[in-house]
């Protein structure tokens, strides 16, 4: 099967997941918190990369599906008192459906027009969250999410997140390395040629969008429970820009690049905020460096360094 993971990658993944599983044993609330948040952003960035890295489109509105997953799970858990086993999958399905709806229109376009339309739809989601105060709490946010007792603790919630993110990442890997994923790459590389060999390129792009939206919904649903709240800013364009930068920073042509980018950017922001008020400046510099020096992100940089070292030998 094409999606079998290379041995080295598999071992690295097992090591990382095992190391993460040991985090709660350290008995540091801070470490558990940042690990949980990083895991959520890792999944969020990995999901966006299905659109960017695999189908070759840039979405400026990916936060919309994160927010839909978050709001849906929060509202179903709290307002309607659904059990998690129902609310969580429903939230993911709703995110996927919303992504399908948006993709239907956006995939009529390409390049910057596609990107702008994704942004427009995302801001529509933001506006709905902002205005539909009776349901979403408006700009006060939807605060006080009911979290099931079995994960209502720092360590249990971390393990819940670890399990969900690990499974989701594995599924994403399989999707990206399946025939569907390979066809997406063909569409990315040359959409005209892919069309001529019989690929329904629009359907493939819609598929990529739905997959990405659904997994962003999973990340959002987890984040709503972690924060015990969802806020309109989750759907705002700045959030979409943040996850886009995470993806670019890590490297969009590598499956795990966005995960590395998410962890790096999250930690940089965390520590920068503790020592300076000028995080936006730091972010701007990072973006400049990516565009000018690291077009293939950190993974591309590591590859170049490795190649240079090998050449030196």
């Amino acid at each position: 099967m094409g999606w079998n993971m290379p041995r080295g990658v598999l071992i690295s993944c097992i090591v990382v997941v095992t190391a993460l599983a040991l985090v709660p044993l350290a008995d540091s609330r801070y470490l558990i918190d940042i690990s949980t948040e990083i895991l959520v952003y890792v999944l969020f960035a990995l999901s966006l990369n299905v659109i960017i890295g695999y189908s070759g489109n840039v979405s400026f509105g990916h936060a919309a599906y994160f927010a839909i997953g978050g709001y849906a799970n929060a509202i179903l858990l709290t307002t309607y008192e659904w059990p998690l086993i129902l609310s969580f999958p429903t939230a993911v399905v709703l995110s996927g459906l919303a992504a399908a709806f948006v993709a239907y229109f956006c995939t009529r376009l390409t390049d910057i027009y596609f990107a702008m339309l994704t942004l427009a739809f995302a801001m529509l989601v933001w506006a709905i969250a902002f205005k539909w105060r009776s349901v979403t709490g408006g700009d006060d946010g939807f605060v006080g999410v009911n979290v099931p007792e079995f994960i209502d603790g720092r360590a249990p919630f971390f393990y819940f997140t670890l399990v969900i993110v690990t499974i989701s990442s594995a599924v994403l890997w399989m999707i990206c390395h399946s025939a569907f994923g390979q066809t997406l790459v063909a569409v990315r590389e040359n959409i005209t040629r892919a069309g001529f060999i019989g690929v329904n390129t629009r359907l493939m792009r819609i598929g990529a969008f739905v997959v990405a939206g659904s997994f962003a919904g999973i990340a959002g649903a987890i984040f709503a429970m972690y924060n015990r709240g969802v806020y309109t800013e989750s759907a705002f364009w700045t959030e979409s820009a943040q996850v886009l930068i995470m993806t670019l920073l890590g490297g969009m042509y590598s499956f795990f690049g966005p995960a590395i980018g998410a962890a790096t950017l999250y930690l940089l922001e965390r520590f920068a905020n503790e020592y300076t008020q000028y995080w936006p400046t730091v972010l701007g510099v990072i973006l400049l460096v990516i565009v000018l020096v690291l077009p293939e992100g950190l993974v591309g940089l590591a590859k170049r360094v490795r190649e240079r070292l090998a050449g030196g030998n």
Partner: protein, 390 residues
């Protein structure tokens, strides 16, 4: 296996580094917007906070220990504020949280406080939800709220004998809550006054021409509002040429009587405006204000000081008083001590209701008038409206 062991050792080292905090001091976590657009509120608030902490430390600290502040920027974003609050609790081991500015940020910090079992004193957020639907054991508010503002506006409409009301609010949580508060205030104090028109402007709006013409066409004799900060500045600049302030009285919450606004607008500040503020640098109605203002002026390097510092200052004073009463920084004991607690502040005595956790944060209300020799409007006469709803 070797990799796992190495990772474990690294993780343990990280934890050891983070957990090596020794509690030899009282650690307060402070959350204001101290950079970007919100800094115009957060920076003065930090002046007040630091002044309060310095005074407490000069008097021997809290429970004999030095008070240390750990400040974080909320960026005016609830998720960022929640993350910062968690970091303050889990990494810096703060024993109490103070601050917040917008309603959403206040509610987000309050939720973290509830989860983590740590006391949070909201010094500026006004959303009524914080002390009603979203009330919990560990949240306390020393600021006013929208029902207090609405009640004061109702009293003023009655006092002026106004009969037809135009209401204009910003279309977000504070605007909606204040509109509801004004409805209650009018029903209670001026039941004969009829609401002619309800207008909503977008948060951040700069163009008010449509609303101005609607107000002028509606024939109302008073405008009630909560347009704050630059919203009011823009509204006033655009409404002035239409003669709106010649035709109606403008009664507004949102603290547009504060010197921050009056001083900034100078001669452009319109007539017929009655509004509120938490503090006025030139009004020494309450004992202790003169000294507070002088100290603040020295600290901020300005004779004409802002309104926000007093709110942050009061928050610190409540923490100190509660800790001394509780004899501990334990959250449950602090919470119990804060319930029903009274302290004297530069703007009057403040008491926290034991049931709602809301302080009776009265405000100064009055007409903004011209004064000889001063190039900005000042409030005169100044009337203190105690925060009482019954």
């Amino acid at each position: 296996m070797g990799s796992i062991l190495r990772t474990t050792v690294v993780a343990a080292a990280l934890v050891a580094a983070g957990a090596s905090v020794v509690q030899a001091e009282i650690r307060i976590g402070v959350l204001y917007p101290i950079a970007g657009t919100g800094a115009v509120y957060g920076t003065p608030a930090m002046h007040g906070h630091n002044m309060g902490v310095d005074e407490v430390n000069a008097a021997g600290g809290i429970l004999g220990q030095k008070v240390v502040t750990f400040a974080r920027d909320t960026k005016l974003k609830p998720a960022a504020a929640a993350a910062a609050a968690k970091e303050l609790i889990t990494k810096e081991d703060v024993q109490i949280l103070i601050g917040g500015l917008s309603s959403a940020v206040g509610l987000a910090i309050s939720e973290v406080a509830r989860q983590e079992g740590i006391v949070y004193i909201a010094t500026i957020p006004k959303t009524i939800q914080m002390t009603t639907k979203k009330l919990h054991k560990y949240v306390f508010r020393t600021a006013s709220h929208t029902d207090f503002e609405g009640d004061a506006i109702g009293q003023l409409v009655k006092k002026l004998g106004k009969k037809s009301v135009c209401d204009i609010q910003l279309d977000y949580a504070y605007g909606h809550d204040l509109a509801a508060g004004i409805e209650k205030g009018l029903a209670k104090h001026a039941p004969d006054a009829k609401k002619v028109i309800d207008l909503r402007s977008k948060l951040g709006a700069t163009d008010y021409n449509a609303q101005i013409t609607q107000i002028l066409g509606s024939g109302c004799d008073v405008v009630t509002s909560g347009l704050w900060g630059s919203h009011f500045v823009n509204f006033a600049q655009q409404a002035g040429p239409f003669g709106l302030f010649d035709k109606v009285t403008y009664i507004s919450g949102g603290e547009i009587a504060s010197h921050e606004i009056a001083g900034k607008m100078g001669k452009d500040y319109p007539k017929n405006v009655i509004s509120n503020t938490y503090e006025l640098w030139y009004d020494h109605s309450f004992p202790g204000h003169k000294k507070f203002q002088a100290d603040l002026a020295k600290r901020s390097g300005k004779k004409e000081t802002a309104m926000w510092p007093v709110l942050a200052y009061i928050g610190v004073k409540f923490v100190a008083a509660a800790a001394e009463k509780a004899g501990s920084m334990d959250a449950d004991k602090l919470s119990a001590a804060l319930e029903g607690m009274s302290i004297d502040t530069p703007v009057g005595k403040r008491t926290i209701d034991p049931k709602t956790h809301q302080a009776d944060a009265g405000q100064f209300w009055g007409p903004m008038v011209k004064k000889d020799g001063v190039d900005y409007r000042v409030m005169s006469p100044v009337t203190f409206f105690p925060a009482k709803l019954d």
